[in-house]
Protein backbone atom coordinates (compact mmCIF):
# COMPACT_ATOMS: atom_id res chain seq x y z
CA UNK A 1 0.00 0.00 0.00
CA UNK A 2 1.28 3.44 -0.90
CA UNK A 3 2.03 5.76 1.97
CA UNK A 4 -0.39 8.37 0.52
CA UNK A 5 -3.25 5.84 0.26
CA UNK A 6 -2.56 4.70 3.81
CA UNK A 7 -2.56 8.27 5.13
CA UNK A 8 -5.73 9.16 3.17
CA UNK A 9 -7.44 6.15 4.71
CA UNK A 10 -6.20 7.07 8.16
CA UNK A 11 -7.48 10.64 7.80
CA UNK A 12 -10.87 9.40 6.57
CA UNK A 13 -11.08 6.95 9.47
CA UNK A 14 -10.10 9.62 12.01
CA UNK A 15 -12.65 12.02 10.50
CA UNK A 16 -15.39 9.40 10.70
CA UNK A 17 -14.47 8.56 14.29
CA UNK A 18 -14.43 12.25 15.24
CA UNK A 19 -17.83 12.71 13.57
CA UNK A 20 -19.23 9.74 15.49
CA UNK A 21 -17.84 11.05 18.79
CA UNK A 22 -19.59 14.38 18.16
CA UNK A 23 -22.83 12.95 16.74
CA UNK A 24 -23.44 10.25 19.35
CA UNK A 25 -23.88 12.60 22.33
CA UNK A 26 -25.89 15.01 20.15
CA UNK A 27 -28.30 12.26 19.12
CA UNK A 28 -28.60 11.03 22.71
CA UNK A 29 -29.20 14.62 23.84
CA UNK A 30 -32.01 15.11 21.31
CA UNK A 31 -34.02 12.12 22.50
CA UNK A 32 -35.66 13.03 25.80
CA UNK A 33 -35.15 10.79 28.84
CA UNK A 34 -37.93 8.39 29.78
CA UNK A 35 -39.34 9.59 33.07
CA UNK A 36 -41.04 6.72 34.87
CA UNK A 37 -44.56 7.64 35.91
CA UNK A 38 -46.72 5.85 38.39
CA UNK A 39 -49.33 4.15 36.22
CA UNK A 40 -52.72 5.71 36.91
CA UNK A 41 -55.17 3.02 37.96
CA UNK A 42 -58.06 5.04 39.28
CA UNK A 43 -59.37 8.62 39.08
CA UNK A 44 -62.47 10.52 40.08
CA UNK A 45 -63.82 11.41 36.64
CA UNK A 46 -66.93 13.35 37.68
CA UNK A 47 -69.34 14.10 40.48
CA UNK A 48 -72.58 12.17 40.65
CA UNK A 49 -75.24 14.19 38.86
CA UNK A 50 -72.66 16.25 36.96
CA UNK A 51 -73.50 14.50 33.69
CA UNK A 52 -76.99 14.65 32.29
CA UNK A 53 -78.38 11.55 30.57
CA UNK A 54 -76.82 11.44 27.08
CA UNK A 55 -73.98 13.72 28.23
CA UNK A 56 -70.25 13.10 28.32
CA UNK A 57 -66.99 14.61 29.56
CA UNK A 58 -63.31 14.02 28.96
CA UNK A 59 -60.99 13.86 31.94
CA UNK A 60 -57.28 13.36 32.65
CA UNK A 61 -56.39 9.71 33.18
CA UNK A 62 -52.65 9.84 33.85
CA UNK A 63 -51.01 11.61 30.94
CA UNK A 64 -53.84 10.75 28.56
CA UNK A 65 -57.49 11.75 28.29
CA UNK A 66 -60.35 9.44 29.17
CA UNK A 67 -64.03 9.80 28.24
CA UNK A 68 -67.01 9.24 30.52
CA UNK A 69 -70.41 8.83 28.86
CA UNK A 70 -73.82 8.67 30.52
CA UNK A 71 -75.95 6.57 28.21
CA UNK A 72 -79.63 7.12 27.44
CA UNK A 73 -80.61 4.64 30.20
CA UNK A 74 -78.50 6.52 32.75
CA UNK A 75 -75.60 4.04 32.85
CA UNK A 76 -71.99 5.26 32.95
CA UNK A 77 -69.37 3.99 30.47
CA UNK A 78 -65.71 5.02 30.41
CA UNK A 79 -62.98 4.49 27.85
CA UNK A 80 -59.59 5.79 26.90
CA UNK A 81 -60.35 8.90 24.80
CA UNK A 82 -57.32 8.36 22.56
CA UNK A 83 -58.48 7.38 19.08
CA UNK A 84 -56.71 4.22 17.96
CA UNK A 85 -56.20 5.69 14.50
CA UNK A 86 -53.92 8.70 14.92
CA UNK A 87 -54.31 9.63 18.55
CA UNK A 88 -56.90 12.45 18.51
CA UNK A 89 -59.22 12.82 21.49
CA UNK A 90 -62.69 11.37 20.83
CA UNK A 91 -66.08 12.73 21.90
CA UNK A 92 -69.61 11.35 22.36
CA UNK A 93 -72.34 12.21 19.90
CA UNK A 94 -75.77 11.97 21.39
CA UNK A 95 -77.52 12.10 17.98
CA UNK A 96 -75.87 8.91 16.74
CA UNK A 97 -75.27 7.44 20.23
CA UNK A 98 -71.69 6.74 19.26
CA UNK A 99 -68.20 7.83 20.19
CA UNK A 100 -66.75 9.87 17.39
CA UNK A 101 -63.30 11.11 16.45
CA UNK A 102 -63.52 14.45 14.63
CA UNK A 103 -60.07 14.14 13.07
CA UNK A 104 -60.77 11.39 10.51
CA UNK A 105 -64.41 10.44 11.18
CA UNK A 106 -63.71 7.30 13.18
CA UNK A 107 -66.76 5.86 14.97
CA UNK A 108 -66.97 3.57 18.01
CA UNK A 109 -70.06 2.09 19.63
CA UNK A 110 -70.81 2.31 23.34
CA UNK A 111 -68.86 -0.88 23.91
CA UNK A 112 -65.80 0.93 22.53
CA UNK A 113 -65.74 -1.20 19.38
CA UNK A 114 -64.46 0.46 16.22
CA UNK A 115 -67.48 0.26 13.93
CA UNK A 116 -66.75 2.66 11.10
CA UNK A 117 -63.98 4.78 9.59
CA UNK A 118 -60.25 4.23 9.85
CA UNK A 119 -59.64 3.24 13.53
CA UNK A 120 -57.96 -0.17 13.55
CA UNK A 121 -58.72 -1.20 17.16
CA UNK A 122 -61.38 -0.69 19.83
CA UNK A 123 -60.98 1.89 22.60
CA UNK A 124 -59.66 0.62 25.90
CA UNK A 125 -62.60 0.26 28.26
CA UNK A 126 -62.42 1.29 31.90
CA UNK A 127 -64.55 0.19 34.84
CA UNK A 128 -66.88 2.77 36.39
CA UNK A 129 -68.11 2.80 40.00
CA UNK A 130 -70.25 5.33 41.76
CA UNK A 131 -68.70 5.79 45.19
CA UNK A 132 -70.66 8.19 47.34
CA UNK A 133 -70.76 11.44 45.37
CA UNK A 134 -67.95 10.46 43.03
CA UNK A 135 -67.95 8.71 39.68
CA UNK A 136 -64.73 6.71 39.85
CA UNK A 137 -63.06 5.32 36.75
CA UNK A 138 -60.42 2.62 36.97
CA UNK A 139 -58.47 0.37 34.68
CA UNK A 140 -60.52 -2.68 33.82
CA UNK A 141 -59.44 -5.62 35.96
CA UNK A 142 -60.42 -8.09 33.26
CA UNK A 143 -58.40 -6.33 30.53
Amino acid sequence: MKRRTFLDGLIALSGTALGAFVLYPVMRYLVPPRIPEAATQRVVAAKKGELAVGGFKTFPFGAEPGILVRTADGEYRAFSAVCTHLGCTVQYRGDSRAIWCACHDGLYDLEGRNVSGPPPRPLERYDVHVVGDDVVVEKAKTA
Binding site: L30, V31, P32, T58, F59, P60, A63, E64, P65, I67, A81, H85, L86, G87, C88, T89, V90, Q91, S96, W100, C101, A102, C103, H104, D105, L107, N114, G117, P118, P119, P120
Partner: protein, 356 residues
Protein backbone atom coordinates in the same frame (compact mmCIF):
# COMPACT_ATOMS: atom_id res chain seq x y z
CA UNK B 1 -11.13 57.30 -3.88
CA UNK B 2 -14.92 57.11 -3.91
CA UNK B 3 -16.75 54.74 -1.58
CA UNK B 4 -17.96 52.76 -4.60
CA UNK B 5 -14.42 52.40 -5.90
CA UNK B 6 -13.20 51.41 -2.42
CA UNK B 7 -15.82 48.65 -2.20
CA UNK B 8 -15.30 47.59 -5.82
CA UNK B 9 -11.68 46.67 -5.26
CA UNK B 10 -12.30 44.99 -1.90
CA UNK B 11 -15.48 42.99 -2.65
CA UNK B 12 -14.73 41.91 -6.20
CA UNK B 13 -17.77 43.76 -7.49
CA UNK B 14 -16.49 43.65 -11.08
CA UNK B 15 -16.87 39.88 -11.17
CA UNK B 16 -20.36 40.13 -9.69
CA UNK B 17 -21.33 42.83 -12.15
CA UNK B 18 -20.07 40.66 -15.00
CA UNK B 19 -22.21 37.71 -13.84
CA UNK B 20 -25.28 39.94 -13.51
CA UNK B 21 -24.78 41.48 -16.93
CA UNK B 22 -24.22 38.13 -18.60
CA UNK B 23 -27.25 36.39 -17.06
CA UNK B 24 -30.01 35.87 -19.59
CA UNK B 25 -33.38 34.14 -19.45
CA UNK B 26 -34.83 32.17 -22.40
CA UNK B 27 -38.03 33.59 -23.88
CA UNK B 28 -40.64 31.13 -25.19
CA UNK B 29 -44.28 30.17 -24.71
CA UNK B 30 -43.62 28.57 -21.29
CA UNK B 31 -41.54 31.45 -19.85
CA UNK B 32 -44.34 32.36 -17.45
CA UNK B 33 -43.36 29.39 -15.25
CA UNK B 34 -39.89 30.85 -14.71
CA UNK B 35 -41.31 33.43 -12.30
CA UNK B 36 -42.51 31.02 -9.63
CA UNK B 37 -39.13 30.28 -8.08
CA UNK B 38 -38.56 34.01 -7.58
CA UNK B 39 -42.07 34.36 -6.20
CA UNK B 40 -41.41 31.61 -3.64
CA UNK B 41 -38.15 33.31 -2.70
CA UNK B 42 -39.87 36.67 -2.24
CA UNK B 43 -42.52 35.14 0.02
CA UNK B 44 -39.77 33.40 2.00
CA UNK B 45 -38.21 36.85 2.48
CA UNK B 46 -41.56 38.08 3.85
CA UNK B 47 -41.56 35.10 6.24
CA UNK B 48 -38.08 35.91 7.51
CA UNK B 49 -38.92 39.59 8.06
CA UNK B 50 -42.28 39.00 9.77
CA UNK B 51 -40.89 36.00 11.69
CA UNK B 52 -38.17 38.19 13.21
CA UNK B 53 -40.84 40.67 14.28
CA UNK B 54 -43.02 37.95 15.84
CA UNK B 55 -40.18 36.44 17.83
CA UNK B 56 -39.75 39.72 19.71
CA UNK B 57 -43.07 39.12 21.52
CA UNK B 58 -43.58 35.37 21.33
CA UNK B 59 -42.95 33.23 24.45
CA UNK B 60 -42.33 29.55 23.69
CA UNK B 61 -43.91 27.78 26.67
CA UNK B 62 -47.27 26.07 27.16
CA UNK B 63 -48.18 28.53 29.91
CA UNK B 64 -47.41 31.67 27.92
CA UNK B 65 -47.45 30.95 24.18
CA UNK B 66 -51.19 31.42 23.60
CA UNK B 67 -51.32 34.48 25.86
CA UNK B 68 -48.30 36.07 24.15
CA UNK B 69 -49.91 35.66 20.72
CA UNK B 70 -53.18 37.07 22.05
CA UNK B 71 -51.29 40.03 23.54
CA UNK B 72 -49.52 40.52 20.22
CA UNK B 73 -52.80 40.51 18.33
CA UNK B 74 -54.83 42.68 20.69
CA UNK B 75 -52.36 45.06 22.36
CA UNK B 76 -49.30 45.47 20.16
CA UNK B 77 -49.64 48.08 17.40
CA UNK B 78 -50.02 46.25 14.08
CA UNK B 79 -49.36 42.95 15.86
CA UNK B 80 -52.43 41.44 14.20
CA UNK B 81 -51.12 42.59 10.83
CA UNK B 82 -47.65 41.11 11.29
CA UNK B 83 -49.05 37.76 12.44
CA UNK B 84 -51.68 37.64 9.70
CA UNK B 85 -49.12 38.45 7.02
CA UNK B 86 -46.81 35.75 8.42
CA UNK B 87 -49.61 33.17 8.30
CA UNK B 88 -50.96 34.16 4.90
CA UNK B 89 -47.50 34.46 3.41
CA UNK B 90 -46.68 30.95 4.67
CA UNK B 91 -49.68 29.63 2.77
CA UNK B 92 -48.91 31.58 -0.38
CA UNK B 93 -45.27 30.47 -0.18
CA UNK B 94 -46.26 26.80 -0.10
CA UNK B 95 -48.67 27.46 -3.00
CA UNK B 96 -45.93 29.21 -5.02
CA UNK B 97 -43.48 26.41 -4.20
CA UNK B 98 -46.06 23.86 -5.42
CA UNK B 99 -46.59 25.73 -8.70
CA UNK B 100 -42.80 25.97 -9.10
CA UNK B 101 -42.32 22.26 -8.38
CA UNK B 102 -45.15 20.98 -10.57
CA UNK B 103 -44.19 23.29 -13.46
CA UNK B 104 -40.54 22.20 -13.21
CA UNK B 105 -41.79 18.59 -13.30
CA UNK B 106 -44.08 19.06 -16.29
CA UNK B 107 -41.45 21.05 -18.25
CA UNK B 108 -38.86 18.39 -17.36
CA UNK B 109 -36.47 20.97 -15.94
CA UNK B 110 -34.87 18.19 -13.88
CA UNK B 111 -33.10 16.65 -16.89
CA UNK B 112 -29.33 16.43 -16.83
CA UNK B 113 -27.33 18.37 -15.73
CA UNK B 114 -29.98 19.72 -13.33
CA UNK B 115 -30.63 16.58 -11.26
CA UNK B 116 -29.11 18.10 -8.12
CA UNK B 117 -31.08 21.32 -8.66
CA UNK B 118 -34.24 19.17 -8.60
CA UNK B 119 -33.12 17.27 -5.49
CA UNK B 120 -32.30 20.48 -3.61
CA UNK B 121 -35.70 21.79 -4.73
CA UNK B 122 -37.35 18.71 -3.22
CA UNK B 123 -35.42 19.29 0.01
CA UNK B 124 -36.57 22.94 0.01
CA UNK B 125 -40.17 21.88 -0.45
CA UNK B 126 -39.85 19.42 2.44
CA UNK B 127 -38.33 22.25 4.53
CA UNK B 128 -41.27 24.52 3.60
CA UNK B 129 -43.70 21.87 4.85
CA UNK B 130 -41.61 21.40 8.01
CA UNK B 131 -41.71 25.16 8.60
CA UNK B 132 -45.50 25.06 8.15
CA UNK B 133 -45.94 22.08 10.48
CA UNK B 134 -43.67 23.42 13.24
CA UNK B 135 -45.00 26.97 13.02
CA UNK B 136 -48.62 25.81 13.18
CA UNK B 137 -48.19 24.57 16.77
CA UNK B 138 -46.60 27.76 18.10
CA UNK B 139 -49.84 29.68 18.99
CA UNK B 140 -50.70 26.63 21.16
CA UNK B 141 -54.39 26.50 20.20
CA UNK B 142 -56.76 23.55 19.91
CA UNK B 143 -56.42 23.08 16.16
CA UNK B 144 -52.64 23.25 16.37
CA UNK B 145 -52.57 20.77 19.24
CA UNK B 146 -54.49 18.10 17.34
CA UNK B 147 -52.73 18.80 14.04
CA UNK B 148 -49.46 18.14 15.83
CA UNK B 149 -50.85 15.05 17.55
CA UNK B 150 -51.97 13.55 14.25
CA UNK B 151 -48.79 14.64 12.43
CA UNK B 152 -46.45 13.14 15.00
CA UNK B 153 -48.58 9.99 15.23
CA UNK B 154 -48.13 9.63 11.48
CA UNK B 155 -44.36 9.80 12.05
CA UNK B 156 -44.73 7.10 14.69
CA UNK B 157 -46.13 4.79 12.00
CA UNK B 158 -43.00 4.99 9.86
CA UNK B 159 -41.59 1.45 9.84
CA UNK B 160 -38.52 0.78 12.05
CA UNK B 161 -37.63 4.34 13.09
CA UNK B 162 -41.17 5.67 13.71
CA UNK B 163 -41.14 5.48 17.50
CA UNK B 164 -37.74 7.18 17.68
CA UNK B 165 -38.84 9.92 15.26
CA UNK B 166 -42.06 10.62 17.16
CA UNK B 167 -40.23 10.91 20.50
CA UNK B 168 -37.56 13.07 18.91
CA UNK B 169 -40.19 15.44 17.53
CA UNK B 170 -42.40 15.54 20.61
CA UNK B 171 -39.65 15.60 23.17
CA UNK B 172 -41.51 12.81 24.97
CA UNK B 173 -44.45 10.49 24.52
CA UNK B 174 -47.16 13.17 24.58
CA UNK B 175 -47.66 16.62 23.09
CA UNK B 176 -46.66 18.89 25.96
CA UNK B 177 -45.01 22.25 26.61
CA UNK B 178 -41.76 20.41 25.88
CA UNK B 179 -43.01 19.75 22.33
CA UNK B 180 -43.84 23.44 21.92
CA UNK B 181 -40.37 24.56 23.01
CA UNK B 182 -38.82 21.98 20.73
CA UNK B 183 -40.96 23.02 17.74
CA UNK B 184 -39.99 26.63 18.41
CA UNK B 185 -36.33 25.58 18.28
CA UNK B 186 -36.93 23.75 14.97
CA UNK B 187 -38.87 26.69 13.55
CA UNK B 188 -36.45 29.50 14.36
CA UNK B 189 -33.05 27.77 14.49
CA UNK B 190 -32.76 24.29 12.98
CA UNK B 191 -34.93 24.77 9.88
CA UNK B 192 -33.55 28.26 9.02
CA UNK B 193 -29.99 26.90 9.25
CA UNK B 194 -30.86 24.01 6.91
CA UNK B 195 -32.83 26.36 4.65
CA UNK B 196 -29.88 28.72 4.30
CA UNK B 197 -27.56 25.90 3.23
CA UNK B 198 -29.99 24.19 0.83
CA UNK B 199 -31.42 27.40 -0.61
CA UNK B 200 -27.90 28.73 -1.18
CA UNK B 201 -27.00 25.56 -3.09
CA UNK B 202 -30.25 25.63 -5.09
CA UNK B 203 -29.78 29.28 -6.13
CA UNK B 204 -26.14 28.71 -6.99
CA UNK B 205 -27.08 25.74 -9.20
CA UNK B 206 -29.81 27.75 -10.93
CA UNK B 207 -27.20 30.43 -11.76
CA UNK B 208 -24.59 27.85 -12.72
CA UNK B 209 -26.76 25.88 -15.16
CA UNK B 210 -29.02 28.71 -16.29
CA UNK B 211 -32.74 28.24 -16.95
CA UNK B 212 -33.82 24.93 -18.46
CA UNK B 213 -35.55 25.08 -21.85
CA UNK B 214 -38.43 22.56 -22.14
CA UNK B 215 -37.84 19.63 -24.56
CA UNK B 216 -40.77 20.72 -26.76
CA UNK B 217 -39.19 24.15 -27.35
CA UNK B 218 -35.73 22.61 -27.80
CA UNK B 219 -37.13 20.19 -30.37
CA UNK B 220 -38.55 22.96 -32.52
CA UNK B 221 -34.94 24.01 -33.01
CA UNK B 222 -35.73 27.69 -33.33
CA UNK B 223 -32.98 30.09 -32.33
CA UNK B 224 -33.74 30.62 -28.65
CA UNK B 225 -34.76 34.17 -27.85
CA UNK B 226 -33.49 35.47 -24.55
CA UNK B 227 -33.88 38.54 -22.37
CA UNK B 228 -31.43 40.07 -19.92
CA UNK B 229 -32.04 39.09 -16.31
CA UNK B 230 -31.19 42.62 -15.16
CA UNK B 231 -33.20 44.66 -15.70
CA UNK B 232 -35.78 43.02 -18.01
CA UNK B 233 -36.61 39.80 -16.15
CA UNK B 234 -36.04 41.25 -12.69
CA UNK B 235 -38.49 44.11 -13.34
CA UNK B 236 -41.13 41.59 -14.38
CA UNK B 237 -40.32 39.61 -11.22
CA UNK B 238 -40.84 42.76 -9.17
CA UNK B 239 -44.28 43.31 -10.73
CA UNK B 240 -45.24 39.85 -9.45
CA UNK B 241 -43.76 40.51 -6.00
CA UNK B 242 -45.65 43.80 -5.66
CA UNK B 243 -48.86 42.01 -6.65
CA UNK B 244 -48.12 39.35 -3.99
CA UNK B 245 -47.48 42.04 -1.38
CA UNK B 246 -50.78 43.70 -2.26
CA UNK B 247 -52.56 40.34 -2.05
CA UNK B 248 -50.98 39.70 1.37
CA UNK B 249 -52.07 43.09 2.69
CA UNK B 250 -55.58 42.51 1.38
CA UNK B 251 -55.84 38.99 2.84
CA UNK B 252 -54.40 40.07 6.20
CA UNK B 253 -56.77 43.04 6.43
CA UNK B 254 -59.93 41.26 5.27
CA UNK B 255 -59.26 37.83 6.79
CA UNK B 256 -57.04 38.29 9.84
CA UNK B 257 -55.67 34.94 11.03
CA UNK B 258 -57.73 33.60 13.91
CA UNK B 259 -56.22 32.53 17.19
CA UNK B 260 -58.95 30.07 18.24
CA UNK B 261 -59.18 28.44 21.67
CA UNK B 262 -56.21 27.66 23.85
CA UNK B 263 -54.98 24.06 23.64
CA UNK B 264 -56.41 21.73 26.26
CA UNK B 265 -54.71 18.33 26.17
CA UNK B 266 -57.79 16.64 27.64
CA UNK B 267 -60.52 18.24 25.49
CA UNK B 268 -62.01 16.35 22.52
CA UNK B 269 -60.85 17.23 19.02
CA UNK B 270 -63.23 19.94 17.77
CA UNK B 271 -65.75 19.03 15.05
CA UNK B 272 -64.72 20.15 11.57
CA UNK B 273 -61.02 19.92 12.40
CA UNK B 274 -58.80 19.71 9.35
CA UNK B 275 -55.16 20.43 8.61
CA UNK B 276 -53.73 23.27 6.56
CA UNK B 277 -54.79 22.94 2.92
CA UNK B 278 -51.38 21.72 1.78
CA UNK B 279 -51.70 18.62 3.96
CA UNK B 280 -55.38 18.17 3.07
CA UNK B 281 -54.88 15.61 0.29
CA UNK B 282 -52.96 13.35 2.69
CA UNK B 283 -55.60 13.90 5.37
CA UNK B 284 -58.35 12.89 2.93
CA UNK B 285 -56.41 9.80 1.87
CA UNK B 286 -55.98 8.71 5.51
CA UNK B 287 -59.65 9.40 6.17
CA UNK B 288 -60.98 7.17 3.41
CA UNK B 289 -58.55 4.29 3.89
CA UNK B 290 -60.35 1.48 5.72
CA UNK B 291 -58.96 0.26 9.04
CA UNK B 292 -57.49 -2.83 7.40
CA UNK B 293 -56.29 -3.38 3.83
CA UNK B 294 -54.86 -6.78 2.86
CA UNK B 295 -54.18 -7.57 6.50
CA UNK B 296 -52.28 -4.32 7.09
CA UNK B 297 -53.47 -1.34 9.09
CA UNK B 298 -54.88 1.22 6.64
CA UNK B 299 -52.99 4.16 8.15
CA UNK B 300 -49.68 2.29 7.90
CA UNK B 301 -50.37 1.52 4.24
CA UNK B 302 -51.18 5.17 3.55
CA UNK B 303 -48.07 6.45 5.28
CA UNK B 304 -45.75 3.98 3.56
CA UNK B 305 -47.48 4.92 0.29
CA UNK B 306 -46.80 8.64 0.85
CA UNK B 307 -43.14 7.86 1.61
CA UNK B 308 -42.69 5.75 -1.51
CA UNK B 309 -44.44 8.37 -3.68
CA UNK B 310 -42.09 11.05 -2.32
CA UNK B 311 -39.03 8.91 -3.09
CA UNK B 312 -40.21 8.21 -6.66
CA UNK B 313 -41.08 11.90 -7.16
CA UNK B 314 -37.61 12.97 -6.00
CA UNK B 315 -35.91 10.30 -8.13
CA UNK B 316 -37.64 11.28 -11.39
CA UNK B 317 -34.49 12.81 -12.98
CA UNK B 318 -32.94 9.33 -12.85
CA UNK B 319 -36.07 7.51 -14.05
CA UNK B 320 -37.19 9.73 -16.94
CA UNK B 321 -35.58 9.75 -20.41
CA UNK B 322 -32.46 11.98 -20.31
CA UNK B 323 -33.46 13.88 -23.47
CA UNK B 324 -37.08 14.28 -22.33
CA UNK B 325 -38.48 12.62 -25.45
CA UNK B 326 -40.10 9.30 -26.40
CA UNK B 327 -42.46 6.91 -24.66
CA UNK B 328 -40.69 6.99 -21.29
CA UNK B 329 -40.86 10.80 -21.21
CA UNK B 330 -44.56 10.75 -22.09
CA UNK B 331 -45.18 8.20 -19.33
CA UNK B 332 -43.57 10.50 -16.74
CA UNK B 333 -45.57 13.46 -18.02
CA UNK B 334 -48.67 11.35 -17.45
CA UNK B 335 -47.46 10.51 -13.92
CA UNK B 336 -47.05 14.25 -13.25
CA UNK B 337 -50.53 15.03 -14.52
CA UNK B 338 -52.06 12.22 -12.45
CA UNK B 339 -50.19 13.43 -9.34
CA UNK B 340 -51.46 16.99 -9.84
CA UNK B 341 -55.00 15.72 -10.46
CA UNK B 342 -54.85 13.51 -7.33
CA UNK B 343 -53.62 16.34 -5.10
CA UNK B 344 -56.23 18.79 -6.44
CA UNK B 345 -59.11 16.29 -6.30
CA UNK B 346 -58.35 15.06 -2.76
CA UNK B 347 -57.81 18.63 -1.53
CA UNK B 348 -61.16 19.75 -2.99
CA UNK B 349 -62.91 16.72 -1.44
CA UNK B 350 -61.87 17.87 2.06
CA UNK B 351 -63.59 21.21 1.56
CA UNK B 352 -66.72 20.09 -0.32
CA UNK B 353 -67.15 16.53 1.04
CA UNK B 354 -69.73 15.90 3.75
CA UNK B 355 -68.66 14.87 7.24
CA UNK B 356 -70.30 12.49 9.65
Amino acid sequence: MSAREWLRTRLGLDALQHVVEEKRVPVHRHSLWYYWGGMTLFLFGVQVATGILLVLYYRPSAGEAYESVRFLMTQVSFGWLVRSIHSWSANLMVAAAMVHMFSAFMLKAYRQPREVTWLTGMALFALCLAFGFSGYLLPWNQLAFFATKVGTDIMADVPLVGGFLARLLRGGDQITGGTLTRFFGFHVAVLPALMTAVLGTHLFLVQWHGMSVPPGVEQEGRPAKTMKFVPNFLLRDIVGWLAALAALALLAALFPWELGLKADPYAPAPAGIKPEWYFAWMFQTLRILPSRVLGLEGEMLGIVGFGLAAVVWAAVPFLDAPDGRGTRARLWSLVGMLAIAYVILFTVLVYVGGRA
